[in-house]
């Protein structure tokens, strides 16, 4: 191993783990008017601040719900674990493990919905930067007869994600996005969501369980007929409205 590689490994351990690892690295720094310990701290602070900012940009709702001080502390605790550090320099790719991490923290165990809300924000983020692909043209649909339609399978736009939670994510989201909203009543109310992008911007639709199940079947490559059979007994389910939601929001990429 080269001298440079050894030094870079030592720097990484010193910054992230501190303690004895830091002691091993400090003699590498030239001793001038500011102590090596304080200089290393400048880099450590810069690295953790950049990681925190990246998480804050993706999980704006979590920061809003917890307040800056608490959320920043959690971000720091998350980033202190080497397994959570980014393995890419594109920080838009990083943060997927943060929601589950929130679920492990005793200090915020009285806020059990945070993990789910963070999952919701992560999917919204993924949707926002998903690949640009064309959406299904409505003209193509006009060429399909009824028999073909029953057997057709949909390929969703890469920006489309389905999410379900036992918490009222819609009410929580309202509090996060609307400063004038009343605080929400935390009761167990299942929420079903479809997130997708239309004309560059992602949108969120809170839907009923039957719509969610229907969309989940389609996303799992059930044929239109097979997906419909899963939910047709549900009185509130309206096939035309469900399909209209997908098509009018450009959530379908292609049809097979």
């Amino acid at each position: 191993m080269s001298t440079l590689e050894t030094l870079q490994k030592k720097f990484c351990s010193a910054v992230i783990l501190g303690g004895e690892h830091e002691e091993l690295f400090l003699p590498e720094i030239k001793l001038l008017r500011i102590s090596p310990n304080d200089l290393l701290k400048v880099y450590r602070n810069g690295i953790f601040e950049n990681l925190r900012n990246a998480l804050k940009l993706t999980f704006t709702g979590i920061w809003s719900l917890l307040g800056d001080e608490c959320a920043n502390s959690i971000a720091y605790a998350f980033s202190k674990e080497i397994k959570n550090l980014p393995n890419t320099s594109v920080l838009d790719d990083w943060g997927g493990a943060f929601p589950d991490f929130l679920g492990t923290l005793q200090a915020i165990s009285s806020l059990p919905y945070l993990k789910d809300y963070a999952h919701f924000e992560w999917l919204y983020h993924l949707s926002s930067c998903a690949e640009n692909v064309p959406s299904l043209s409505l003209d193509i649909l006009k060429t399909i007869d009824e028999e073909q339609a029953d057997g057709s399978r949909f390929s969703f736009h890469p920006s489309v994600f389905l999410f379900e939670s036992t918490f009222p994510i819609d009410l929580i989201n309202n509090v996060v996005t609307n400063p004038d909203a009343d605080s929400f009543d935390l009761h167990l109310k299942p929420t079903y969501v479809i997130i997708g992008r239309s004309n560059s911007r992602s949108s969120v639709h809170f839907i009923s369980k039957s719509y969610w199940e229907f969309f989940a079947c389609l996303k799992n490559k059930y044929s239109l007929q097979e997906a419909y059979e899963e939910v047709q007994s549900v009185e509130e389910f309206d096939l035309v409205r469900a399909l209209s939601l997908l098509l009018s929001n450009n959530f379908i990429h292609s049809i097979v």
């Binding site: 720094i29 001038l32 500011i34 950049n50 550090l85 320099s89 594109v90 560059s200």
Partner: protein, 281 residues
């Protein structure tokens, strides 16, 4: 060499709409490559719209050219895809590292200035230039620590790498000032020691001062106006290197677009004033 001043600012998301509506009088924009290495969505759409009206350069913070373990194939591939999409007039990276053992540390970490590190940089730069099929520029970083094992000065190290690898130099005048104050180096001697033909771009920015146990350390925060000392070094730089493209960076506490543009245009005024002085002389 560009004969007229060619002054740009960093493209930041709070300004997207103002840029598209106001079409500010600025020559070009610099984008941070890593902010646009996504597959699609709003940020790429905005960038694409702005690109129709302005030249852009790509400035990376994450390729980690100083990594002894080499550079990431996937990152290089994504940079190439963005470069093919944007057709930037310049692509630049830093004289630093931030990637080891599959872990990315988001900062510009200095390397020791040694022969070992020169070899690593040259290998990584050559690979990048071969892959991108074009020259890249390397920017001198702001630094807060020096290594015991360094045996070159920073300008010597930078010049050796650029000369051997065929890369150009992006000379960040604020970074020179910050590092020189922090380490007790001579900023004018630094600028005067860089060969004229290697410098292809100049950066300007503001910095902040941190007090550590009664000692001052300058931090490259890009959150303020350019200070007078840096403007004076800029004057020396353009005397030495001519009207290479100059960029004003402002990344934190981002002001209104008009403030940013006004600050950047000071650089244009500097170039013109110096041009007049040279003609008069």
């Amino acid at each position: 060499m560009i004969s007229q001043p060619f002054i740009g600012v960093g493209l930041r998301s709070p300004h997207y709409h103002d840029i598209l509506e106001q079409k500010p009088n600025i020559d070009w924009f610099e984008v941070h490559s890593e902010n646009y290495l996504v597959d699609g969505g709003l940020v790429l759409a905005m960038l694409s719209s702005i690109r129709k009206d302005y030249p852009v350069s790509m400035h990376g913070v994450g390729l980690s050219l100083g990594s002894a373990q080499g550079i990431e194939d996937s990152h290089l591939g994504r940079l190439k895809k963005l470069a093919d999409y944007l057709d930037p007039f310049l692509i630049s990276e830093h004289l630093s590292w931030n990637y080891v053992d599959n872990t990315y540390l988001p900062d510009l970490i200095p390397v020791p200035y040694t022969d070992d590190a020169i070899q690593v940089f040259c290998r990584n730069i050559e690979r990048t230039q071969d892959f991108l099929q074009r020259q890249i520029l390397i920017e001198n970083p702001s630094s807060y620590m020096e290594y015991v094992i360094s045996n070159y000065s920073e300008p010597e190290f930078l010049t050796k790498i650029a000369s051997k690898s065929g890369a150009g130099i992006l000379l960040d005048v604020n970074n020179i000032y910050v590092s020189c104050v922090n380490h007790g180096w001579d900023a004018k001697a630094y600028i005067n020691s860089i060969p004229k033909n290697l410098v292809k771009e100049i950066h300007l920015a503001g910095h902040s001062v941190k007090e550590i146990k009664d000692q001052k350390l300058l931090i490259d925060t890009h959150d303020n106006f350019v200070c007078q000392e840096v403007w004076e070094l800029y004057a020396l730089a353009i005397q030495n290197f001519g009207n290479v493209p100059t960029l004003l960076e402002w990344d934190s506490n981002i002001p209104a677009l008009s403030v940013l543009v006004t600050e950047a245009l000071k650089a244009k005024q500097f170039c013109k004033t110096l041009e007049c002085e040279n003609v008069d002389a």
